[in-house]
């Protein structure tokens, strides 16, 4: 809406030049780590925890908590962006690369999309290419400490190049499909892909 100015508004949180380059449009830098969840935080006993990969793969399998810790470790350092407009700059997570998991199950050539499914019933959908090639992780540590339950612990998906609702908390597995299948928020008005740099917040953005 060209030219509108809010009478007497002066920004109070103008980002530094360093922050500004890292903030996608409409975002602000938040030093904390806000919690946003649609329902109660599920409590998952590590003895019962499993991560499954199923669907269009040659060798579907699941990992226990011990087994997933035996995989080559991987970590992410960088920025995360929530659709509710906060971004957390310069944070870190550790776990395992989704590439490692996919290599173990051998996706079929026709697999084009994934649905992440979670303890508690949450789902989110992604093109397969958004979770491979060093872009996605399953993480259980945040800044050197175990990932707290309200932030998705024991483990969450991490897809930091997309809005953070794609980084599904309490992840229980990935299902590979040959078609797209909108997940929880994607069925409730939020954008199907959610690229923060294109400001893909809602349907039609």
């Amino acid at each position: 809406m060209g030219g509108f100015v809010s009478r007497a508004f002066k920004g109070r949180r103008q980002p530094t030049a360093g922050q500004a380059a890292k903030l996608p449009p409409g975002q602000y830098a938040e030093p904390g780590f806000p919690v946003l969840t649609a329902g109660p935080t599920p409590r998952i006993d590590l003895a019962d925890w499993r991560l499954k990969i199923e669907g269009l793969v040659a060798k579907p399998r699941e990992w226990t908590w011990e087994e997933i810790h035996e995989l080559p470790p991987a970590s992410f350092e960088g920025d995360i962006h929530c659709v509710t407009r906060w971004s957390k700059l310069g944070t870190s997570f550790a776990g395992v690369s989704v590439d490692t998991l996919l290599d173990a199950v051998e996706p079929r050539p026709e697999a084009s999309h994934v649905v992440a499914f979670c303890y508690g019933g949450y789902t989110t959908n992604l093109p397969l290419d958004d979770v491979r090639g060093g872009k996605a992780w399953v993480v259980w540590e945040h800044e050197g400490a175990p990932l707290p339950p309200e932030h998705g612990g024991p483990a969450r998906l991490l897809v930091p190049h997309l809005y953070f609702w794609k980084s599904a908390k309490w992840v229980a597995g990935l299902r590979l499909l040959d078609h797209d299948a909108p997940g929880f928020w994607e069925s409730l008005g939020y954008h199907n892909r959610g690229d923060p740099w294109r400001e893909e917040r809602y349907w039609g953005d």
Partner: protein, 245 residues
């Protein structure tokens, strides 16, 4: 569905609710309506082009092109001090919405209904209760509302009126920091005992909506599940300061 486009709303009324909370009544030309519990995005633009965007819950029941927000001033905030202290009748405000399709209640969803709010987390719950009253719904409903003091209770007179209408709504307050002389309501944070006393037995399968600061929402949602409520019938929303947990 088309893109949610930015619109210019007219500020029709600015109405103080408490010392920290202001109701903004907006006229939004072309507004397509909303569902109780939804929110919208506000965008402020400074002379130099700098913008700040935040989401605010809608407080009013669907009512044509009129939309009311109730905004709490956060002292270290960027948008809420402007909305609560600077904005006045006759100003314009840029917004888009409505947004959110999960933390929503309409009479067709049924009940019984348990609404649990902390501080300004009562705002989307108020939209539900206003809509319930406006549509003459008889769905049994209970509101448990935690505030620091009686003076911090938002919509107090209207809640008294709604609670006295004998249409199946009861309202219970928890005042956590200060209570007036002779106070007979709860005088502590919401806990499991309170949820049992005010809420519905899990066997009645109530629909539960919890909105407030993260600590309250985490605690209440956990207590509800521990009491035996179906997690899939407990919907939560964090509201207000996006601070550290």
């Amino acid at each position: 569905m088309g893109r949610l486009s930015w619109r210019l709303a007219d500020v029709a009324e600015v109405r103080p609710e408490t010392e920290r909370v202001v109701t903004l009544a907006l006229e939004v030309p072309g507004w397509d309506g909303h569902r109780p519990g939804q929110h919208l995005d506000i965008r402020l633009t400074a002379e130099d082009g700098y913008t700040a965007e935040r989401a605010y819950s809608i407080a009013s029941a669907p009512d044509g092109e009129r939309v009311e927000l109730a905004v709490e001033r956060l002292d270290d905030g960027e948008v809420s001090p402007y909305l609560t202290e600077e904005l006045r009748e006759g100003d314009q405000l840029e917004l888009r919405g409505p947004v959110g399709g999960y933390f929503v209640w309409e009479p067709g969803r049924g009940g019984p209904l348990l609404l649990v709010g902390g501080g300004s987390g009562v705002v989307p719950l108020m939209a539900m209760l206003r809509h319930r009253a406006a549509t003459g719904s008889q769905v049994p409903a209970r509101l448990l509302y935690s505030s620091r003091s009686l003076d911090d209770v938002i919509f107090r007179e209207e809640l008294e009126r709604l609670g006295a209408a004998a249409d199946g709504l009861t309202v219970a307050y928890a005042l956590t920091r200060a209570q007036p002389p002779g106070w007979t309501g709860y005088a502590r944070r919401i806990d499991a005992v309170m949820l049992e006393e005010v809420g519905w037995p899990p066997g009645e399968r109530p629909l539960v909506y919890v909105c407030g600061p993260t600590r309250l929402v985490e605690a209440v949602a956990g207590q509800l599940v521990a009491l035996g409520h179906d997690p899939r019938r407990v919907r939560t929303e964090r509201f207000g300061p996006t601070g550290v947990p």
